[in-house]
Symmetry: C2
Subunit: 351 residues, 2 copies
């Protein structure tokens, strides 16, 4: 416990012991070429001996920039977002940056707290992995000249445009409806979390478009959108939605706006001994890992998460390094993963 009172060794300490100037130590530590081998060795040896570790706080202050990047997600427990964290974090770490992960729970106040904190910490950039509830925050980042990119949303604020990586969710919903139709299912119900961001709005709109496109408006196409102020977990929401939908008659298929909700749907249908897919087929959205584990395994819309992350971080680095050629808006395409909950069969043909 004696050590506890000792201060961490600084460049000054190394300089004193090695008999050189502190500036020279700095040169050596930072790998400057113009240093004689003898001095270099002496400095590195004493640094080693003292167990020297550079103080990044001081370095950052001096350089007026940090090697830290903030990642903002709404919910680390949602594997869709934890997957984003995983990919982003790896890319960032491999470029020798460090990550601040901010978990906002879609709460506007928490978002604000984190944005302010990131600005205070002078982060080099921010990756926002969903549409912020508190849209003022986009402005704040912009005003304080913090580079940022948004995945799955557009800032849509005058003078605070930022590069965004979008997924063609309307197409995703179309793929789902199309698949139901190919199975011979025409009465399709839709359930969704509250529409608190662009991704969920687009999925809903895409569903409506597809229904119209296939001329299914009169085929009992029904919709359940959860209210914004509910306190339920996402899975419970699917459970509740299923009850709601069934109370108005049994559809041929249920399309859930997220896998989390689809899990609730499956849970409820299993409880009610309603056969999936024979009685009701189910399609989800996100392709989270568990969608392949649940029984029946879930047919779902897959988003190219890794590509989204790579594009997002690439763009962010370009802004940070002022590389110029950034595209303000990239749109990636989703695809459908067909599993047991809505397999590749034609119901009509089977009957």
């Amino acid at each position: 416990m004696n050590q506890k009172t000792e201060k961490a060794p600084t460049m000054k300490d190394i300089a004193r012991i090695a008999g050189v100037t502190q500036a020279t130590v700095s040169y050596v530590i930072n790998g400057s070429e113009d240093i004689s081998e003898a001095v270099k060795k002496k400095v590195l040896d004493t640094a080693e001996k003292l167990g020297y570790i550079p103080n990044l706080v001081a370095r950052n202050l001096k350089k007026r920039k940090t090697n830290t990047i903030g990642i903002i997600v709404p919910d680390v427990m949602n594997s869709y977002y934890s997957e984003m964290i995983k990919y982003n974090e790896r890319i960032i770490r491999e470029s020798d940056y460090f990550t601040f992960i901010c978990n906002t729970m879609h709460d506007a106040q928490i978002e604000d707290w984190y944005i302010i904190s990131l600005i205070q910490q002078k982060v080099a950039g921010v990756i926002i992995c969903y549409g912020l509830t508190n849209r003022e925050c986009y402005k704040k980042l912009y005003q304080h000249h913090i580079p940022f990119v948004v995945i799955d949303d557009e800032t849509g604020i005058e003078g605070a445009e930022a590069p965004c990586v979008l997924v063609n969710h309307k197409k995703g919903s179309l793929l789902a409806v199309k698949h139901f139709v190919s199975m011979g299912i025409k009465d399709i119900a839709y359930c969704s979390e509250p529409l608190y961001n662009k991704a969920l709005c687009d999925r809903y709109e895409g569903f409506n478009n597809a229904i119209r496109e296939f001329g299914l408006e009169n085929k009992r196409g029904r919709v359940y959108i959860a209210k914004e102020d509910n306190e339920y977990e996402k899975i419970e929401l699917g459970y509740i939605a299923t009850n709601e939908i069934l109370s108005r008659g049994k559809p041929g298929g249920i399309f859930a706006s997220t896998d989390q909700m689809a899990f609730g749907v499956i849970k409820r249908l299993n409880e009610l001994k309603i056969a999936i897919p024979q009685d009701i087929a189910v399609i989800g959205y996100d392709n989270v890992p568990f969608s392949s584990i649940i029984s029946p395994s879930l047919t779902t819309i897959n988003q190219p998460i890794m590509k989204m992350c790579i594009h997002g971080t690439d763009t962010l680095y370009k802004i940070i390094k002022r590389d110029g050629s950034i595209d303000l808006k990239a749109t990636l395409e989703p695809n459908i993963i067909i599993r047991q909950s809505a397999p590749k069969i034609n119901k009509l043909a089977v009957n």
Copy 2:
């Protein structure tokens, strides 16, 4: 884009405009009492007008400490750890600290990179949510006087003792075996991830103890422990383990060392149309959210995650603030959550 070139306003700027000294601004910003209302107002107004946000990098350098805490987990995708992140992050945020989340994938090199980075960043403390693979890292933290607590492991290194929060995993395994026995099941198989930390070792040891205690050594109690150098995901591991176990005869129950593995077990048994729990009952460990969603829902050993986090952060704060009365070792008790995969029935009675 004109703004882009402007520098963020500093205390000096405020001082110049408000006609006071930079020191006075510092006093006002930090809420000193001994400042006249007039000056206070003038300073705060110009700060507001300029959109001043304090530079934490500078403040941290001056105060020689930061308000940042590191959280180290092996895998953000594992909901057991993301739950820990969620609780810890909330507690930390509410105490106005900021979180560095480090995702190591159990990789010794990544662990080392993160530990060095955290030391460089001068974090106020670190919470390690599992047993580090690279045990040298404990030493490094100690040598650099970074307060840290370990959840679910003991440092076990001479001179680098740190407070730890443990779960009585031997008891957890006992609960599982006891439940199997209460169901009339005596031939119990065990499968586990590689034993790369204390938690997994204790669970295994607890299983063996329980088997002995109930006199089941000769009842086909069999074990499958995955090799350390495999590349499989945790769920696949359970899948493989099931095949391995079945190849040596059908047990009455399978106890998996983690829910992730149990999911793989259930997946494989479902595929083989082996009825759960009628043919084989299954018990997992961790009580992750999905254990209640999967079919059949999973009987599992629950760990008091929130309590563990609260105790861990409390202890860390005590060290940071030198509060004295810390207990170096807390052990919390697990409990069993009974669901469909191993329900509360007596097989013998039913037959």
